[in-house]
């Protein structure tokens, strides 16, 4: 996050060059900006070191576009609509139900077993994962886990870690060459770096074990609040465990299912209880073949 803060400071400094007028900085929290000739003097509060929900959204939108360049969307609109309704249900039971652009859901055309969430509320599940699910509780558990990552801002945290060192070494070089036009390009470059960090975390490196356990714990609370069986997550983790290991996607980026079950204090082989016949019926009506 130091990198983001550095960008904000650099941009403020660049205003001096842009306007040719005096600019006063008062620490990191606020700044007085002399406007360009012909415009009123404006006082802005400078964004603090936390990324805003709006910034998270624009970043997530670009990450979502990158995900689509690797996995095309499923052609089955009915299936995506069903996943979306389960997703919106679990979102309503989360502690972060209202975000800048709202939550969006998409089924991806891929046989790999995977689920992804980009910052800003963009959530994806693959057709392969849908084939593995046996009931609506299983799907709700996966989606609640992804909402958990967004609620805890894990995607943003991955940018913070990777840019702490890089931002410092690049700062002087960037500052010396800064012009007005370059300032937007500079942000776009930072944006590009942040997208790559998030993509690397989502598809290659994975979140930390602690972040996965935290998302699981959040998912448990969400499922209970929403009225789904809290054992749905345990059931899905058991299914993942039963799948042959050594595959890519979710298997390579997540801790072992048995470790996740241990962290939740649930046994391998647990099954969802109290599943309504209506939920079972609508799940079975979906074509996941």
């Amino acid at each position: 996050m130091k990198f983001i803060r550095a960008i904000h400071v650099l941009l403020l400094l660049s205003i001096v060059g842009c306007s040719g007028n005096r600019s006063t900085l008062r620490g990191f929290g606020e700044g007085v900006v002399e406007a360009m000739p012909g415009h009123e003097r404006k006082t802005f509060e400078v964004a603090d070191s936390q990324m805003t929900g709006e910034e998270e959204y624009w970043l997530g939108k670009a990450v979502a576009a990158q995900i689509f360049s690797k996995f095309p969307p499923s052609n089955d609109g009915t299936l995506t609509a069903y996943v979306t309704k389960i997703g919106q249900t679990v979102v309503g039971a989360s502690e972060r139900p209202t975000i800048y652009g709202g939550y969006s859901f998409q089924v991806l055309k891929s046989d790999g077993v995977n689920a992804l969430s980009a910052p800003g509320g963009f959530i994806f599940v693959t057709e392969g994962l849908l084939k593995l699910a046996r009931n609506e509780e299983d799907l709700a558990a996966v989606l609640a886990h992804e909402v958990g990552h967004i609620q805890a801002k894990h995607g943003i945290a991955s940018i913070e870690q990777s840019h702490r060192a890089k931002g410092k070494s690049n700062g002087d070089e960037v500052l010396s060459a800064l012009t007005c036009v370059q300032s937007l390009q500079l942000l776009a470059a930072a944006f590009d770096g942040a997208i790559k960090d998030v993509m690397n975390t989502l598809l290659e490196k994975g979140y930390s074990k602690d972040q996965e356990y935290e998302a699981d714990a959040i998912a448990q609370k969400i499922l209970t609040r929403a009225g789904y069986s809290p054992l749905g997550l345990a059931e899905m983790l058991t299914r993942l465990h039963e799948q042959k290991q050594g595959q890519g996607g979710l298997f390579s980026t997540h801790p072992a299912a048995t470790d996740r079950l241990n962290a939740l204090g649930l046994p391998l082989g647990a099954t969802a209880t109290g599943v309504s016949s209506v939920r079972d019926a609508r799940f079975n009506r979906t074509d996941r073949s």
């Binding site: 509060e45 964004a47 969307p73 995506t80 309503g92 709202g102 300032s183 944006f191």
Partner: protein
């Protein structure tokens, strides 16, 4: 007798003054300590009750100022600039006044460069700049995803009810 009446009217005056003072004091917190917050999401509808699936009322948009009337965590009862009241989840608001919006720029209220340079950070302008350098990405697919995901509240509520899930009343 006259003195008694005078005493009595004096006592009544005092009582009325005390009562008025009491009423003033009771109303003090909402008038003096009212807190202003700002909408931090693109748009959201206020709710008629502090529940996720309660009836939506007025729509408020990014940057709108809301006055907090009551806190029922995680919900806030607020009054909008149009003087309408409703509930909003705390995740949708911020204490910090948002920087100039793209709409402000369009209305020439603020200079575009000022907005970009004053620490707004990642924005639609930055995304557009990034898109220019990455013409291979298909942003239309993301737009479609977002559009399809905006399911009417009534449909989600019907889905929850039919599936015997929790609308919030059981909490």
């Amino acid at each position: 007798m006259k003195r008694k009446r005078l005493l009595s009217s004096h006592y009544m005056r005092n009582s009325i003054c005390s009562a008025l003072l009491g009423i003033f004091c009771v109303s003090l917190p909402s008038s003096l300590f009212a807190e202003d917050l700002y909408v931090e999401v693109q748009s959201v509808k206020l709710r008629s009750a502090p529940k996720a699936w309660s009836q939506p009322t007025e729509e408020v948009r990014y940057g709108d100022k809301l006055t907090v009337l009551e806190r029922i965590e995680p919900w806030l009862r607020v009054r909008s600039e149009k003087n309408l009241e409703g509930f909003i989840h705390e995740s949708a608001v911020t204490v910090r006044k948002p920087l100039g919006t793209t709409a402000d720029v369009a209305l020439n209220k603020v200079h575009a460069a000022d907005v970009v340079l004053a620490g707004k950070g990642f924005s639609d302008q930055v995304l557009a700049e990034w898109e220019r350098s990455n013409p291979q990405v298909k942003m239309s697919l993301v737009d479609d995803m977002e559009k399809r995901s905006k399911v009417p509240l009534s449909e989600v509520v019907a889905f929850i009810k039919k599936g015997d899930l929790n609308l919030g009343e059981k909490e």
